[in-house]
C-alpha cells in the first residue's frame, strides 16, 4: 500500500492544543505542562507535526542531551500516529526525518538517537527494529502509572559522516 502523503509542520503557541489532543489520544501517559513548555522551546528540528490533508495525524518530539562524557544524543520523547492512520508509513516517515537530522550541519555531532519503549509494546519494538534500531538494556520500574512498568532502551549509533538510513 502506498504510504500516506504527509506534510510536516512546526509547533508554536497557536497550535499547541492540537499536539495535546493528539498525544492524549495516542499515549497512555498524560504529559504535563512541563513537557509542553519544553517542546515549545525546543529547536524546530526536534519537534515536528505531521499533517494529512489539512489536519494533524501524528508528531514526534525530541530532546537534545549531552551526557557526562560530553556525547551529544537525541532522545525521542514521543513519536506517534493516530490509530486510523497507522500502518501507512507515517511513523516511518517521521522517524526517518529524525534520522536525517544527523546528516545536516547542525546535528552532525550527534552520536546516538535513542528512546524508551514499554516492554509490552511489541508493535513499537518492531517499528524501531525495522528502522535499524537495536534493543538495549531493560529498565525496571521506569513508568509510574502504567503496567507493565518496565521499558527497553532502543538506540541507533551514528558516527560522523556515516549514512544513517538503513
Amino acid at each position: 500500500m502506498a504510504s500516506l502523503p504527509i506534510r510536516l509542520g512546526n509547533l508554536h503557541e497557536k497550535n499547541l492544543e492540537q499536539l495535546k489532543k493528539l498525544n492524549s489520544s495516542i499515549f497512555p501517559i498524560r504529559y504535563g505542562d512541563r513537557f509542553y513548555e519544553e517542546v515549545l522551546r525546543a529547536h524546530p528540528d526536534l519537534v515536528k507535526l505531521a499533517y494529512y490533508h489539512d489536519f494533524l495525524i501524528g508528531a514526534y518530539c525530541c530532546r537534545k542531551e549531552v551526557s557526562s562524557d560530553k556525547q551529544i544524543k537525541i532522545y525521542i520523547l514521543t513519536i506517534g500516529v493516530l490509530a486510523p492512520y497507522r500502518e501507512r508509513g507515517v511513523g516511518t516517515q517521521l522517524l526517518q526525518s529524525i534520522l536525517q537530522l544527523v546528516k545536516t550541519e547542525r546535528w552532525k555531532d550527534v552520536t546516538e538517537i535513542y528512546a524508551h519503549v514499554q516492554t509490552s509494546n511489541e508493535e513499537a519494538l518492531r517499528f524501531y527494529q525495522k528502522n535499524g534500531f537495536e534493543i538495549g538494556e531493560k529498565k525496571t520500574n521506569y513508568y509510574k502509572d502504567i503496567d507493565p512498568p518496565d521499558c527497553y532502551v532502543v538506540y541507533k549509533k551514528c558516527t560522523k559522516g556515516e549514512q544513517v538510513i538503513s
Binding site: 497557536k14 489532543k21 492512520y85
Partner: protein, 896 residues
C-alpha cells in the same frame, strides 16, 4: 472663475487664491483672500472663496458663515453659489448642493464645470428629471465631447426614455468610425518612433474597447426594451467592432432564447432566420465553460420550449447535456435537484462519494438545498449509512487485503461521520447528530472542524452555553484562525457576555493608536456591531445599542456614498453596462438583510424609548405636583447641549480616525446620541417607511409597523399594517402556523386599540370613513369588540400552545392579565400541555417558560423539566442554578 467688480490688481490676487487653493496651499490662499478683504471687506466672491479655503482646513462652521456672508453681499454671483454648492457637496448633502448649483446656473447658464458637477449630484440623488435637463444642456453646449453624448444617453436610459437614448447613441456611433480611422493611419505613420507607436497602440486598443462597450450598451438598451430581433440584427451588423466576444455570445444566446420564448414572431419566420441557432449558440458557450449554471439553464429553457414541457425542471435536457459534458460538476449537481427516487439514489451516491473520500468540509453547504424535499432526505440517509458501513468494514479488514483497498483513504469514515452529523442536524435530530460528531471526534480528535460543528449542533438545539464551550475548544486548537475566533465571539454575544466578546475581538483587531471599537468601525465589521447592538438592547442598555445600530447604518450610507466616484469614472472609461448595473444594485442596497435587521432593531429601540419617556413624564407629573423643582428647565438645557454635541460629532467624523476623533471615539457609549433623539416615534416611522419599501413581505415588519402606528394612535396606518399582515398570513398559513397565531393575537390587539380610540374614526376624512369602517369590521371578524373577539378565538384555539402563549404575552403587555385569569390558568396546567399530541416548537416552549418566570409563578420549575423531555439541550429548560454553574465553569475555564 473670473471675478467681477475688482480692480485689476486685486483681480490677479483673486486668481491667485484659486491657484493656491487648487495646489492645497491653504495658508497662502488665506493670506491672499485677507489682503483683498482688507481693501474690500464686503467683496462677496472673495468672502465665499475664503470660506472654501477655511472648509478645506476643516473649520466647517466658519466656512458656512463666510460663504453665506459672501452670498449676502453678492447674490448674483455664480461663484458664490458654486462655492456654496461645493461646501454642501463636501458634507455629502447632495440635495442642498444641487440647489446651490442650480442658483449658480441662473447667473452663468452655460458654465460647463458647474453643469458637469450638477449632473453628478443629480445622478447620486437619482433626480432623473433634473439629470436629463442638465445632460441635454451639456451636449448642446459642447457636442464635441464623447462623455457628453454618453452621459446624455445614460440619463435617457435611466429616465426610461429608451427611444431618445437609442437616437443619441446612434448619432454618437456614426461619429465613431471616422475618429477611429484617423488615428489608425496616424499611428502607422508614426511607427518609426518606437515609444510613440507603443503609446498609440495602447490608445488604439483602448478606443477599440470603448467602441465595443458602447455598442454592447446599445444592445443592452434594445434588450431591455424587448426589441430582441432588432438587438440581434444590431449585434450581427456590428460583430466586427465588438471585441468582447464572450459578451457578444452571451447576449446573442439570451436574445435568441427571449425571442424564441416570447413567440413575438411566427415560428416559421424564426426558423427561417435562426434555425437551430439558439441551441448552437448556447452549446458554443458551454464548450467554453460547461460549469456555468446560467448557460445550462438557458439550454433547459429552450429544450422545454421545443418539447412543450411545462414543469420547471427538466431531467432530459440535463441528461442530454451530461452526455456531451461528462466532466461538468455543475451539471451533476443540477441533476440532483431534479432527479427522484432510484435515479436520485444512484446519482447522489456517485456525486457524494468522491467528496467523502477526498474530505470536503463544505459538502453540506453544497447539498443543503436538497433538504427541501423530504423524500430526498431519506435517500441521502440511506446512501450515507451504506457508505459508513462500507468504510468501517474496509477499515477493520484492511490488514488482510490491504493491496486491494489501498485507494480507500483512512479519513473517509471521518468525513462520512462529519457529513452525517450535519445531516441529522438538518433533520433536527440532535441526539443522532451529536452521536455522529462524537464518533468523528473519537476517530480524529485533532480535526478542528468537528468541534466547530459540534458547537453548531448545540446552538441549533438551543444549548448556547454548550455551543460556546465547543466553539472555544475549536478556537483553542488553532488560535491563529480568525473564523473560529469569530464563531466564539458571536456565541458570546448571543449569551450577552459582551466583555468576553470584546476580549476575543481584540485578539484580531490590534492597531496602534486607534481605539478598538473605532478600528472595528473603520473595518465595517457589520455582523459584530449588529450582534453587539442586539445584545445591548436585550440588556436594556439602549444608548450603546443605538450607537452600534447607527454605526451599521452609517456603513450602509458609506457604501451608497462610494458610488459617487463612478459617475464620472465609468463615463470616462465607457463601462456603461457595468455602471448601470452598479446603479441598480445601489438602488436595492437597503434591501440587504443586514440593513433590514438594523432598521428593525432601531424601530424596536425607538418603541422602547418612547415607552420609557412616557413613563418618565408620567412620573415627572407626579413629582411636580409634590415639589416645585425647576426640573423641566434643566432638562431642556441638557437637550440643547447634547444637540450641539451631535453637530460637532458630525463635523468631526469627516476627519475620521485622526487624533481620536473618529465616530466611535466621540461619545463611544452613545449617551449624547441617545439624548439627542427628541421624537423616538417619529424616528421609528422613518425606519418603518424604509422597511415597508424593501421588506414589506416580512411579517415581522408589518408587526412593527402596527406597533408603531398604534403607539402613534394612527388608525389608518394600523389598519393598513394589519390588512397587509392578513394577506401575508393567508399566503402561508399552512407551513407557518406560528405566524398565524401571532396574527390572531395582533388582531386582538388591534381590536383593543379600536375600542380605546373609537373617537379617531370621527376625525377621518369623509371620503375614507366608510372604507375604514368596513375593513375594521372585517378584521374584527364582523365588528366584534376586543372582549368578544377574545372569547371567539379562545373557543377555537384554546388547545394550541402558540396561541395561548402569544395571547398571554399580549394581556401582560396591556396589563389586563388578571382580568382574564383563565388564560394564565391554562398555561400552568399540566393536563393542558399533554392533551395535544403535537410537540410545539422549541421557541414557543421557551416563551412559555420565560413568561411564567417573569410572572414569578413557581410552576415554571415543573414546566422546565417537562419541556426538557422534548428539548434536552436547550438552556432555557435547565434549572437556573445549573445554568449559573455551567456559566461559571465556562468563565473559569476561559480565564486560563
Amino acid at each position: 472663475m473670473v471675478s467681477s467688480s475688482l480692480p485689476s490688481k486685486e483681480n490677479s490676487v483673486f486668481k491667485n487664491i484659486l491657484k493656491y487653493y487648487e495646489t492645497k496651499q491653504y495658508k497662502k490662499a488665506l493670506k491672499s483672500a485677507d489682503s483683498i478683504l482688507k481693501k474690500f471687506p464686503n467683496h462677496g466672491e472673495t468672502l465665499a472663496l475664503k470660506g472654501l479655503v477655511v472648509a478645506a482646513l476643516n473649520r466647517k462652521q466658519e466656512a458656512y458663515d463666510l460663504v453665506r456672508q459672501g452670498l449676502k453681499n453678492d447674490l448674483k454671483s455664480h461663484i458664490c453659489w458654486h462655492v456654496y454648492g461645493l461646501l454642501y457637496r463636501g458634507d455629502q448633502d447632495y440635495k442642498e448642493a444641487a440647489k446651490a448649483y442650480l442658483q449658480a446656473l441662473k447667473f452663468d447658464p452655460e458654465n460647463i464645470q458647474i453643469l458637469r458637477d450638477l449632473a453628478l449630484l443629480q445622478i447620486q440623488t437619482r433626480d432623473y428629471d433634473g439629470l436629463l435637463v442638465t445632460r441635454r444642456k451639456l451636449v448642446t453646449i459642447k457636442p464635441g465631447i464623447k462623455n457628453h453624448w454618453l452621459g446624455f444617453a445614460v440619463a435617457c436610459h435611466l429616465k426610461g426614455e429608451m427611444d431618445i437614448a437609442l437616437k443619441v447613441l446612434e448619432s454618437f456611433e456614426s461619429t465613431l468610425g471616422k475618429s477611429s480611422d484617423a488615428p489608425n493611419s496616424a499611428a502607422s505613420e508614426k511607427k518609426k518612433e518606437k515609444g510613440a507607436s507603443q503609446e498609440a497602440k495602447v490608445a488604439e486598443l483602448e478606443e477599440k474597447y470603448e467602441t465595443s462597450e458602447t455598442l454592447l450598451y446599445h444592445a443592452m438598451i434594445l434588450q431591455e426594451m424587448g426589441s430582441w430581433q432588432t438587438a440581434l440584427t444590431y449585434l450581427e451588423e456590428n460583430k466586427g467592432r465588438i471585441v468582447d466576444s464572450l459578451s457578444y455570445l452571451e447576449f446573442r444566446a439570451n436574445l435568441l432564447v427571449q425571442l424564441l420564448c416570447s413567440q413575438s414572431i411566427s415560428s416559421e419566420e424564426l426558423d427561417r432566420l435562426y434555425a437551430g441557432e439558439p441551441e448552437t449558440c448556447i452549446l458554443q458557450l458551454l464548450d467554453m465553460n460547461p460549469d456555468n449554471v446560467e448557460y445550462i439553464q438557458l439550454y433547459e429553457t429552450v429544450y422545454r420550449f421545443r418539447k412543450n414541457i411545462h414543469s420547471s425542471n427538466c431531467l432530459e435536457a440535463l441528461n442530454e447535456l451530461e452526455q456531451r459534458y461528462p466532466y461538468s460538476s455543475s451539471l451533476k449537481r443540477l441533476i440532483l435537484q431534479v432527479a427522484t427516487e432510484d435515479e436520485f439514489f444512484r446519482r447522489f451516491k456517485s456525486y457524494v462519494c468522491p467528496f467523502l473520500y477526498r474530505g470536503v468540509p463544505s459538502l453540506m453547504t453544497d447539498c443543503k438545498s436538497l433538504y427541501l424535499d423530504n423524500s430526498k432526505v431519506d435517500i441521502i440517509e440511506r446512501v450515507l449509512s451504506e457508505f459508513y458501513e462500507k468504510s468501517l468494514n474496509k477499515e477493520t479488514t484492511m490488514d488482510q487485503n490491504s493491496t486491494e483497498d489501498g485507494d480507500i483513504p483512512p479519513d473517509a469514515t471521518l468525513w462520512c461521520l462529519y457529513f452525517m452529523a450535519q445531516h441529522f442536524d438538518m433533520k433536527g435530530d440532535t441526539e443522532q447528530a451529536l452521536s455522529c460528531i462524537r464518533r468523528a471526534i473519537d476517530h480524529t480528535p485533532t480535526l478542528v472542524e468537528a468541534y466547530s460543528l459540534q458547537s453548531k449542533i448545540f446552538k441549533h438545539a438551543g444549548g448556547m452555553l454548550q455551543s460556546l464551550a465547543s466553539a472555544n475548544e475549536a478556537r483553542k486548537l488553532d488560535l491563529a484562525d480568525r473564523y473560529l475566533n469569530c464563531q466564539c465571539i458571536k456565541l458570546a454575544l448571543r449569551l450577552d457576555m459582551i466583555s468576553l466578546a470584546e476580549t476575543w475581538m481584540s485578539l484580531f483587531t490590534k492597531e496602534e493608536g486607534v481605539k478598538e471599537s473605532q478600528n472595528i468601525y473603520d473595518l465595517q465589521v457589520i455582523w459584530y456591531e449588529l450582534e453587539c447592538a442586539e445584545s445591548h438592547f436585550r440588556l436594556g442598555e439602549l444608548p450603546q445599542a443605538l450607537k452600534k445600530w447607527k454605526a451599521v447604518e452609517r456603513h450602509f450610507q458609506d457604501i451608497y456614498e462610494d458610488q459617487f466616484d463612478f459617475h464620472s469614472y465609468c463615463l470616462r472609461k465607457t463601462t456603461l453596462r457595468a455602471y448601470v448595473r452598479v446603479l441598480r444594485l445601489e438602488d436595492k442596497l437597503l434591501g440587504q438583510k443586514y440593513y433590514i435587521r438594523t432598521a428593525k432593531g432601531l424601530v424596536k429601540l425607538f418603541l422602547k424609548m418612547s415607552e420609557l419617556q412616557q413613563r418618565k413624564s408620567e412620573e415627572n407629573v407626579t413629582l411636580e405636583n409634590l415639589s416645585l423643582s425647576p426640573k423641566n428647565n434643566s432638562n431642556s438645557d441638557k437637550n440643547n447641549k447634547s444637540h450641539k454635541d451631535m453637530n460637532n460629532n458630525r463635523t468631526n467624523s469627516q476627519s475620521s480616525g485622526v487624533g481620536g476623533s473618529g465616530w466611535m471615539e466621540v461619545d463611544p457609549n452613545g449617551e449624547s446620541l441617545y439624548e439627542s433623539i427628541q421624537d423616538p416615534l417619529g424616528e421609528a416611522s422613518k425606519y418603518i417607511h424604509t422597511l415597508e419599501r424593501y421588506a414589506g413581505e416580512d411579517i415581522q415588519v408589518q408587526i412593527l409597523a402596527l406597533d408603531v402606528a398604534m403607539k402613534r394612535e394612527k388608525l389608518v396606518l394600523s389598519l393598513k399594517a394589519i390588512v397587509r399582515m392578513s394577506r401575508l398570513v393567508v399566503h402561508k398559513e399552512e407551513n407557518n402556523s406560528e405566524d398565524f397565531y401571532l396574527f390572531l393575537v395582533k388582531k386582538l390587539q388591534f381590536a383593543h386599540f379600536l375600542g380605546q380610540h373609537s373617537h379617531n374614526m370621527e376625525q377621518l376624512p369623509l371620503s375614507i370613513t366608510s372604507y375604514v369602517k368596513e375593513e375594521c369590521h372585517r378584521i374584527c371578524e364582523g365588528g366584534k369588540t376586543f372582549e368578544s373577539l377574545l372569547m371567539h378565538y379562545w373557543d377555537l384555539y384554546r388547545d394550541t400552545l402558540a396561541f395561548l402563549v402569544y395571547l398571554a404575552e399580549l394581556l401582560e403587555q396591556l396589563d389586563i392579565l388578571s382580568k382574564y385569569s383563565f388564560v394564565l390558568e391554562s398555561l400552568v396546567n399540566r393536563k393542558q400541555m399533554t392533551s395535544n399530541n403535537i410537540i410545539p416548537q422549541r421557541k414557543i416552549c421557551e416563551r412559555h417558560v420565560l413568561l411564567l418566570e417573569r410572572l414569578g409563578i413557581s410552576f415554571v420549575e415543573e414546566l422546565r423539566s417537562f419541556y426538557r423531555n422534548w428539548y434536552p439541550y436547550s438552556d432555557c429548560f435547565q434549572s437556573p442554578q445549573e445554568i449559573q454553574s455551567t456559566k461559571h465553569m465556562l468563565l473559569e475555564e476561559l480565564k486560563k
